[in-house]
C-alpha cells in the first residue's frame, strides 16, 4: 500500500495523545486523557456538554497548549505552537463554529494564508483548478466562485473540508459537523468521510447523535468531566450503553406524554408575509394557530422560512403584511419587550448572536429580560442577593456546567451556553413559547431534560411552537405537526399518526393528499 494520499500528501499512520491535561480557571477540562487514531479509521469522540471534547481537539490543532502530556505523530513527538504548525504536520479541523469569511468567495477562503505560485500576487485560477480536482476526488460539490454568504450550511461545511484537504490534511478533526445539517446533508457528508477513510485519511468525529456515531465510526471514546470513561469498538456497542457511559446513569430515550388538554388559542398568525435577508419574500402568507396546552411542531428543511418566522414572532424582523395575535393582543408591529411582557418566551436558533451577551456573566445573562422586575430589582435598584440565588438555582436545575455564576459565558462550552438560555426562557413560565432548534448541539442528558421541561410546560398550559429539523424530536413531542416548504405551510398533520415518510414527502414540497 502506498503511503501517499490522493492529494499527494503523506499519510498519518498513527496519531497519539498521551496524558493530556488542560486547565482553565476553575475547570479541569482535560484530565490525563489518552486518545489515538490511525490511518483509514474514523474514531468517534462522545461526551456531554463541557466534557472537554473541543478542548482536546483544539490542542491537537495548536489552538491551546496542553498543560501536561504529549502528542505523537507516526511515533515522533510533536509540539504545536499555533495552527500553522499543526497544518504543516498534516492536521486539519472543521470547527464547531464555522471558520469562514462570509464576504469572501470559496476560492479566496481556500487560498487564505497560503503561499501563491506567483509570489505576492494571488493565483486564484490555479487554486480553483485544484479545488475542482479535489471535488472530483472526494465527491464534493461547490461553486468555487460563490460567496460564502450565498451558500447553505451544508455547502459551507464542504468548503471547510476543502480547506483542510487543500492544505494536505491527513488527519481531519470534525467537531460536531452534523449539528447544523439536514438529514440529506448528513448522508452526503458521510459518503465523503467514508471515502476519505478508504483513501487512508485518519478522522476524528465528534457528535451528540448516537445513531450517527454508530453508523460512521470504527471506535468510540467517551469523555466525562474531562476524563476518558472508555474506548470501545463500535461494532457491538449499543445506544443505551453509550448513553449510560456518557451520562453516568441510564437515560430515557422514550417519553411519556400526558393526554392533550387543549385550551384557548394563545398564538395566532394570519397570512404572514415577511422578507428574507436577500430581499425576496421568505414567508408567503403563513397562517398558524397554537392553543394553550399544545405543542405545535414546525418541520421542514432549514432555509424554508423557519428562521424568518421565528424572528418575526420574536419582533426581530419587520412584518410586510399579515397579523400576529399574542394572547389576544395584536403584536404584529410591537417591540420584543412588549411581547416578552405579554408572556412570550423565545429560544433563538442562533443563541450566540440573538440569545446571549458573550462578555456578560452567567448571572447577568439570566436577568437580561426580567432585570427590571421583582425579584431581581425593586425601585430601579438591582437586588443582587436574589439575582445570585435564582442564578445558582437555575444553574443547578438545568445542570449548566460553569465554574461560577460570574464566569463570562464566552468561556462556557457550546452546549452549556444553550442550556443557560433554555433555563432563562423556560423558568419565566411563559404563556407562549417559541423554541427554535432547542436541542441543537445539546447532549443527550440535557436533551432529555429539555424535552421533559417542554412537556411539563405543555401540561401547565403553555402554547409551544417547536421549530426543529430533527424529525424524531418533532414526532416525540408534537401534538400537531405543520410542515413548511419555501415559505408556505404545506399541510398540518396529527402528531400521533404522522409517519416519517409522510413528513419527508411534505418537506420536499409535496402536498398532503386530499382526504377522501
Amino acid at each position: 500500500m502506498s503511503d501517499l494520499l490522493p492529494t499527494g500528501h503523506k499519510k498519518i499512520e498513527e496519531m497519539r495523545m498521551e496524558g493530556i491535561v488542560k486547565r482553565f480557571p476553575g475547570v479541569l477540562a482535560n484530565d490525563h486523557v489518552n486518545f489515538d487514531v490511525k490511518a483509514g479509521e474514523i474514531h468517534a469522540l462522545l461526551g456531554e456538554n463541557g466534557a472537554g471534547k473541543s478542548t482536546l481537539v483544539r490542542q491537537l490543532y495548536g489552538l491551546y497548549r496542553p498543560d501536561e502530556g504529549k502528542i505523537f505523530i507516526n511515533g515522533e513527538e510533536v509540539v504545536f505552537h499555533s495552527p500553522k504548525d499543526s497544518i504543516a504536520a498534516g492536521v486539519g479541523m472543521i470547527h464547531q463554529h464555522f471558520m469562514l469569511v462570509p464576504d469572501l468567495t470559496v476560492v479566496e477562503n481556500v487560498a487564505l494564508g497560503l503561499p501563491s505560485s506567483r509570489g505576492v500576487i494571488l493565483d486564484l485560477d490555479r487554486v480553483r483548478k485544484r479545488i475542482e480536482l479535489l471535488c472530483q476526488q472526494y465527491n464534493l460539490k461547490v461553486d468555487p466562485y460563490a460567496y460564502i454568504w450565498q451558500l447553505s450550511v451544508g455547502e459551507q461545511q464542504r468548503v471547510e473540508i476543502l480547506k483542510a484537504l487543500y492544505r494536505g490534511a491527513a488527519l481531519l478533526v470534525l467537531d460536531e459537523p452534523t449539528a447544523v445539517l439536514t438529514p440529506q446533508e448528513v448522508d452526503d457528508l458521510f459518503i465523503t468521510l467514508r471515502r476519505m477513510a478508504d483513501e487512508g485519511h485518519a478522522l476524528i468525529f465528534i457528535s451528540h447523535k448516537l445513531h450517527e456515531v454508530l453508523a460512521i465510526s470504527q471506535r468510540v471514546t467517551v469523555l466525562r468531566d474531562g476524563r476518558v470513561v472508555g474506548t470501545r469498538p463500535t461494532a457491538g456497542a449499543t445506544k443505551t450503553e453509550l448513553a449510560q457511559m456518557m451520562v453516568g446513569r441510564p437515560v430515557i430515550l422514550q417519553y411519556e406524554k400526558s393526554p392533550l388538554k387543549m385550551g384557548d388559542i394563545l398564538l395566532k398568525v394570519e397570512n404572514l408575509v415577511v422578507r428574507g435577508d436577500r430581499g425576496t419574500d421568505a414567508l408567503k402568507g403563513v397562517s398558524l394557530e397554537v392553543h394553550s396546552g399544545e405543542i405545535l411542531g414546525l418541520a421542514g428543511v432549514s432555509g424554508n422560512g423557519q428562521r424568518e418566522l421565528a424572528e418575526a414572532l420574536a419582533g426581530l424582523r419587520p412584518v410586510k403584511s399579515g397579523r400576529i395575535i399574542l394572547n389576544g393582543v395584536d403584536v404584529t408591529h410591537a417591540s420584543p419587550s412588549v411581547r416578552i411582557a405579554t408572556g412570550q418566551s423565545y429560544i433563538p436558533e442562533e443563541r450566540m448572536k440573538d440569545g446571549a451577551i458573550k462578555d456578560f456573566s452567567v448571572a447577568d445573562n439570566f436577568i437580561l429580560e426580567d432585570h427590571a422586575k421583582p425579584p431581581f430589582s425593586s425601585r430601579t435598584f438591582l437586588n443582587f442577593r436574589s439575582i445570585r440565588q435564582v442564578s445558582e438555582r437555575l444553574v443547578q436545575e438545568f445542570n449548566v456546567k460553569t465554574p461560577t455564576i460570574d464566569t463570562p459565558i464566552k468561556n462556557l462550552s457550546g452546549g452549556n451556553i444553550q442550556k443557560m438560555i433554555l433555563a432563562r426562557e423556560l423558568s419565566r413560565k411563559p404563556k407562549v413559547l417559541i423554541a427554535s432548534q432547542p436541542t441543537r448541539g445539546v447532549d443527550i442528558g440535557a436533551s432529555e431534560y429539555i424535552h421533559q421541561r417542554l412537556l411539563e410546560q405543555r401540561q401547565a398550559g403553555t402554547a409551544t411552537l417547536l421549530i426543529s429539523e430533527d424529525l424524531d424530536e418533532i414526532r416525540a413531542l408534537s401534538d400537531r405537526i405543520a410542515v413548511i416548504y419555501e415559505g408556505e405551510i404545506v399541510g398540518i398533520v396529527d402528531g400521533k399518526t404522522a409517519t416519517t415518510e409522510e413528513l419527508g414527502l411534505m418537506m420536499a414540497g409535496i402536498r398532503e393528499k386530499p382526504k377522501a
Binding site: R58, Y61, L63, Y64, S82, P83, K84, I87, M93, H95, Q96, H97, F98, M99, L100, V101, P102, D103, L104, E108, N109, A111, L112, G113, L114, P115, S116, V120, I121, L122, K163, R167, M352, K358, K410, G414, I417
Partner: protein, 310 residues
C-alpha cells in the same frame, strides 16, 4: 453668481479640487487598510500633524524636500507603531486610544514647533511638474497634468491600493482578518502581524498626508494646521465603503465643494463666508447618512482579537 460659471473659474475650481484632494487621499487610503484589517484608527489627524511638522523641519534643516518626506513618513510610522501597541497588543478600546493619539500628536507637534522653529516661516515646497505630451493638451493638460509630485502620487495610490487589497496574498489576509480574525487565525494567518502592518502603513501614509500640506499645499507649518482633516479622512473611508475607488470619489467630491467654496469667497459672492466654509462639511454629513446604509463594514472593526474564543 454668473461670474462663477466662466470657463477659467470652472477650470480653476477643478484644478484646486484635485490639489486639495491630495492629503485626504493619502490619509484615507492608509486608514482604509487599517479598517479593512479591523482597526479603527481615529488618530489620523494627530499623525498628520506630526508628519507635517517633521517633514517641514527636516526639509528646512537639510534643504532637501525628499528627506523631509522621508522624515514625515518615519514620524507617521512611529505614531502608527504606537497605535498598534496600544490597540492591537494591549487591546485598548480603539476609539479612545485614537483620540489619545490625536491629542498626543497635536501637543507634541505644537511643542516641537515652538521649541525648534518658534515663528511661522515658509519654504519653497514641491513645484508643479508638467507631464510631457499629456501636459500639452489644451485645458486638460493644465488641469490634470501640471501638478506637483505628491498630487500624482496620491492619485496613483488609489489603483495601487485597490490592486494590493484585491489581488495579493497580503490583501486577502487583510480582508479576512477584518471580517473574521478567528477564521484567519485557524489557517495560520498571524492576525497581530497583519494588523500591525496595516496600522503602520496607515501611519506612514498619514505622515505623508501631513507633509503634503506643509511641503506642497501650504508650504509652512502652523499649530494645528490640519484642523480636523484627519477626521474627514476617516469619514471618507466610511463614505467610500472601505474601497479605494469609493474613497477617491468621496475625496474628490469633498475637495471640489471645498474649492468651489473658496472661489465663492474669492469672488466675493453674496453668501456669508461662514456658511461657505461649512458647505463641504455639511455635504459630508449628508453624504455619510445617505451612504451609511448600503456599505458593509468590516465585521471585526474595533474588536480586539483573542485566540480560542467561541
Amino acid at each position: 453668481m454668473a461670474e462663477l460659471f466662466t470657463l477659467p473659474v470652472l477650470l480653476g475650481i477643478i484644478y484646486s479640487g484635485i490639489r486639495l484632494a491630495t492629503p485626504y487621499l493619502y490619509a484615507a487610503i492608509g486608514e482604509t487598510f487599517a479598517q479593512r484589517s479591523g482597526v479603527l484608527n481615529l488618530g489620523v489627524d494627530g499623525i498628520m500633524l506630526m508628519g507635517a511638522y517633521t517633514g517641514f523641519y527636516v526639509a528646512m534643516k537639510t534643504g532637501n524636500l525628499f528627506l523631509g518626506l522621508l522624515g514625515a513618513a518615519t514620524a507617521g510610522l512611529l505614531m502608527g507603531l504606537l497605535m498598534s501597541v496600544v490597540s492591537v497588543s494591549l487591546q485598548a478600546e480603539q476609539g479612545i486610544s485614537g483620540i489619545g493619539l490625536n491629542l498626543f500628536g497635536l501637543g507634541l507637534s505644537t511643542l516641537l514647533f515652538k521649541v525648534t522653529l518658534g515663528g511661522v516661516e515658509s519654504i519653497r515646497g514641491f513645484q508643479p511638474i508638467r507631464v510631457p505630451l499629456l501636459g500639452q493638451i489644451p485645458y486638460l493638460g493644465e488641469i490634470f497634468f501640471n501638478h506637483n509630485l505628491l498630487v500624482y502620487g496620491a492619485f496613483l495610490l488609489v489603483p495601487l491600493a485597490n490592486y494590493v487589497l484585491n489581488n495579493t496574498t497580503f490583501g486577502l489576509k487583510v480582508r479576512a482578518v477584518g471580517q473574521n480574525p478567528q477564521a484567519a487565525d485557524t489557517l495560520g494567518v498571524n492576525v497581530t502581524l497583519i494588523r500591525y502592518t496595516t496600522v503602520c502603513l496607515g501611519g506612514i501614509l498619514a505622515g505623508i498626508a501631513g507633509a503634503s500640506l506643509s511641503l506642497a499645499l501650504i508650504n509652512l507649518f502652523q499649530e494645528n494646521m490640519t484642523s480636523g482633516m484627519g477626521f474627514i479622512a476617516v469619514a471618507l473611508v466610511y463614505f467610500g465603503g472601505w474601497r479605494p475607488w469609493g474613497v477617491l470619489g468621496g475625496a474628490l467630491l469633498f475637495s471640489f465643494v471645498n474649492a468651489l467654496q473658496l472661489w465663492v469667497q474669492v469672488k466675493g459672492i453674496n453668501i456669508p463666508s461662514d456658511i461657505a466654509v461649512m458647505m463641504p462639511y455639511i455635504l459630508t454629513i449628508i453624504a455619510l447618512t445617505l451612504s451609511g446604509r448600503r456599505a458593509r463594514q468590516p465585521q471585526a472593526l474595533t474588536k480586539p482579537f483573542e485566540r480560542g474564543e467561541n
